[in-house]
């Protein structure tokens, strides 16, 4: 008896029920985030020791129902079916009992043991709402606990209730003739835990009174359930009553699994059809809707029995705030000020820690250089590894600040209002109002922007938003525009750069339309969103959310970005050039001995030429040159081709590569100036037309390696490959149209 036992507890509940706060309060910092198998729906898993138990907590996606229509709901349901948690904690926003119990009914139907957690108990009390918890426990046949998650109240009682429930099961297993008095409302005792060791088709008795859908429907369900009980078609249905309901609802995910069974059982198949026809004929409605109505009716009955509420609407305070926050005229200015603040904080304030990180990396590189003997190893460590690590953590400040903002928006309830305000505009793109924030953040940096699509509920919205983020010209592309526009468009440079940004947005609109007509055609579920009451975000919940994102970035993406950076570094480093067209070393040395200013300048020029030859010789240099035939129709020379290949690492690298390839010896401010001069030089063969095409190419071509890895992490390999290929093709085509079209027009 004294051996430790591992148990699994899942948390289910509506969005905005405080489910995640309960999860945080139960598990503390001992949690990790992964995806549910096969989908990119987030799965939070936490651990805790309690008495003799090692408890694994799983936070299911917040849902209102458990249908097969939405991915989140399907994921939550599949988890309950396949992973068979020992207990489900059903987190409920007490003031919203009726809607919450609708989900509870569906969990009860699945025959899982559950503990009802009346969360935000304080809020309900303040609103004058009274709930008879004993009666609720009796009616549902499940223990009821009261909590205030964000103040950590009632958490131990909740956990104790869950463990007591598990123990009573355990007793059933160990000693069936146990003397423990049955809990109130417990109709029959379960024999045989549906456990990993027990056969699945073992019949289970539930302690909950079955959900009633009205006498007529109850008879139909019972009749079918009895037939399923005797049907030995498959191992799948260990819960005949639930299966009967799903068959009546014609739930595709379930009937698909049951099909061989009931097909083989002609009597059952016949009765099912008969029942469906009967329901349709008597109610003039699909059985699915009739059953849903039945659940609501049952819930309404329970709520009438246990809840007393005043006539005051608890949304009153929120309505007052919304009179301003979503006001006809004031709504947008307020929204844009909030967006502006978050954007500025993320990218402007973010610059300071980014600067510290860069200096830190610089110091490390300097230290490594001074310790290590010069050579390949030193180059690998200094430029490859330390440089690569720097490239990874440099995004961290942006991610942390952005998610700080997003968490506050989400927890306060303003995020839903933002979606409410922006939905009309975003709907033009086929997106949900919430997609605005990730797209806006795309102008700063694609990596945090892509990560922030996690706030979108629908998988389709997330994919489409992620596909569109690269069109929002990120801040790393700006130095390229400044260089090229500065070199070729003089006073008009500002307007040209602005035009590039607008072009990106217009192309996003076009791409959204194209994607919706082709690769993302499936009909989406309608936009029906809860506007939760405004609440004060708690520091703990915000910090946990931020910490979670930072950790995902460092653990799940950092390593991949680091490896990719080192590979890119190696491609830009090897093979080493040993023989040069001129003996640079000797000549530079010779010039330096003269110690005149003129000779020094000449030496610098030679060094630049040497560096350029080295870059040409590396794999990346060769790739860039090999791409010359592809770049020719765009009017790009091989140097531009090579610089674009290096831009794969990070977009601002395009500028420094051009500097090296155009053999700019000077450093600092003069560097940009002399590079502009070189680019303008008629010898370079570049024109305004080519320059504009180049800027458009930079706007549109593949995002940098970190963004690509972020895309893979969020939506998988297939979409990542699709984006990369599509963006490359689009960039090439756009530059081609600009150059060739412009030439036809005689520009």
């Amino acid at each position: 008896m004294a051996s430790r036992r591992q148990v699994k507890i899942a948390l289910a509940g509506n969005p905005n029920s405080g489910k995640t706060s309960i999860f945080n309060a139960l598990t503390g910092a001992k949690q990790k985030v992964a995806n549910f198998p096969g989908v990119t729906v987030e799965k939070r898993v936490g651990y805790r020791k309690f008495g003799l138990y090692d408890i694994i907590f799983v936070d299911l996606p917040g849902t209102y129902s458990l249908t097969a229509y939405s991915l989140d709901e399907k994921v939550a349901r599949d988890f309950i079916i396949n992973e068979q948690p020992d207990v489900i904690i059903n987190v409920i926003d007490t003031a919203n009992l009726e809607r919450s119990l609708y989900l509870t009914m569906q969990v009860i139907e699945m025959g899982v043991d559950l503990v009802i957690d009346l969360n935000m108990w304080d809020e309900a009390q303040e609103a004058g709402i009274e709930v008879d918890t004993d009666k609720l426990a009796r009616l549902l046949g499940a223990p009821v606990a009261k909590t205030v998650a964000n103040r950590g109240q009632g958490i131990d009682n909740l956990l104790q209730a869950a463990v007591t429930l598990i123990e009573s099961d355990h007793d059933d297993d160990e000693e069936i003739e146990s003397e423990t008095p049955p809990e109130p409302g417990r109709r029959d005792r379960r024999r045989g835990r549906r456990g990993h060791s027990r056969p699945h088709h073992h019949h289970r008795h539930h302690r909950h009174p079955p959900v009633s859908y009205g006498p007529n429907l109850d008879d139909i369900v019972k009749n079918l359930a009895d037939q399923i009980e005797t049907c030995r078609g498959c191992e799948f249905c260990h819960n005949p009553r639930w299966m009967a309901i799903k068959l009546l609802e014609n739930d595709p995910a379930i009937t698909g699994r049951c099909f061989p069974g009931w097909r083989g059982n002609q009597t059952l198949a016949g009765s099912l059809n008969e029942s469906i026809e009967h329901i349709k004929a008597t109610t003039n409605e699909e059985p699915e809707m009739v059953i849903t109505e039945g659940r609501y009716g049952y819930v309404a009955g329970i709520v009438r029995e246990v809840m007393k509420k005043p006539q005051v609407d608890r949304m009153m305070a929120s309505e007052h705030i919304d009179n301003v926050a979503t006001h006809r005229i004031l709504g947008y200015p307020i929204f844009f000020i909030i967006m502006w603040l978050i954007f500025q904080a993320t990218f402007k304030i973010g610059q300071y820690p980014m600067g510290w990180i860069e200096s830190g990396v610089g110091i490390l590189q300097w230290a490594a250089l001074s310790i290590l003997p010069a050579g390949m190893l030193s180059d690998l460590i200094v430029d490859g590894i330390i440089g690569g690590v720097g490239a990874v953590i440099v995004f961290l400040p942006n991610i942390v600040i952005l998610f700080l903002g997003i968490s506050i928006l989400e927890d306060s309830g303003y995020m839903a209002r933002a979606a409410f305000l922006m939905d009309r505009l975003m709907h033009l793109l086929g997106l949900h109002g919430k997609s605005f924030i990730p797209l806006l953040m795309g102008f700063g940096c694609s990596v945090p922007a892509i990560m922030s699509t996690r706030t979108l509920e629908s998988q389709k919205d997330r994919i489409l938003t992620i596909l569109l983020i690269p069109y929002m010209s990120c801040s790393a592309k700006l130095p390229v525009y400044i260089l090229i526009a500065g070199a070729f468009f003089g006073a008009a440079a500002g307007n040209v750069i602005f035009g590039i940004y607008i072009l990106g947005i217009l192309l996003a609109v076009a791409a959204a339309y194209l994607f919706r007509k082709t690769v993302l055609r499936s009909e989406s579920i309608p936009f029906v969103m809860e506007l939760p009451p405004y609440r004060r975000p708690t520091t703990k919940s915000v910090l946990i959310h931020v910490w979670e994102r930072a950790r995902i970035y460092l653990k799940k993406m950092g390593g991949v970005i680091l490896v990719a950076s080192i590979i890119l570094w190696a491609l830009g480093y090897f093979p080493r050039k040993t023989e040069y067209s001129v003996d640079y070393e000797a000549r530079i040395e010779q010039l330096r001995t003269l110690e005149t200013e003129q000779a020094e300048a000449k030496a610098a020029e030679l060094e630049a030429m040497k560096a350029s030859e080295e870059v040409e010789y590396t794999y990346i240099g060769r790739l860039g040159q090999a791409l010359a035939p592809v770049m020719d129709p765009l009017g790009f020379n091989w140097r531009m081709g090579v610089s674009l290949v290096t831009g794969f690492f990070a977009k601002e690298v395009v500028v420094s590569s051009l500097g090296v390839l155009y053999q700019i010896g000077e450093k600092g401010e003069k560097e940009a100036e002399s590079l502009m001069k070189k680019l303008r030089d008629p010898e370079s063969g570049l024109s305004k037309l080519v320059a504009f095409g180049f800027m458009v190419f930079v706007l549109l071509y593949t995002p940098c390696i970190a963004a690509i890895i972020a895309i893979r992490r969020e939506v998988g390999w297939r979409w990542m490959t699709f984006t990369v290929v599509f963006q490359l093709a689009l960039a090439w085509l756009a530059a081609l149209v600009i150059y060739q079209g412009g030439r036809l027009l005689g520009l």
Partner: protein
């Protein structure tokens, strides 16, 4: 009349919900059901979506879905 025609502050009773199965099921899951009362709060500044109250909570939905919800006004 449909929910779209309900003026802000007015209350209506849902008579019938039309539309395809997935949409109706979704509306039903969110608590919009025949016999239930809906109070119109307001439309977003660009006229779409709408904000409605179902008694305990506020919900936002687009006009396209609102047009599927048939209501009869209740004098309030």
């Amino acid at each position: 009349m449909s929910l779209n025609d309900l003026k802000p502050g007015k209350v209506g009773k849902v008579v019938r919900i039309t539309g395809d199965r997935a949409v109706r099921k979704r509306l039903l899951d969110m608590g919009i059901r025949a016999g239930g009362e809906i109070r119109m709060i307001k439309a977003a500044p660009l006229k779409d979506p709408l904000e409605i109250s179902l008694g305990n909570g506020h919900i936002s939905l687009r006009r396209k879905e609102a047009s599927l919800i048939q209501i009869e006004p209740i004098s309030d």
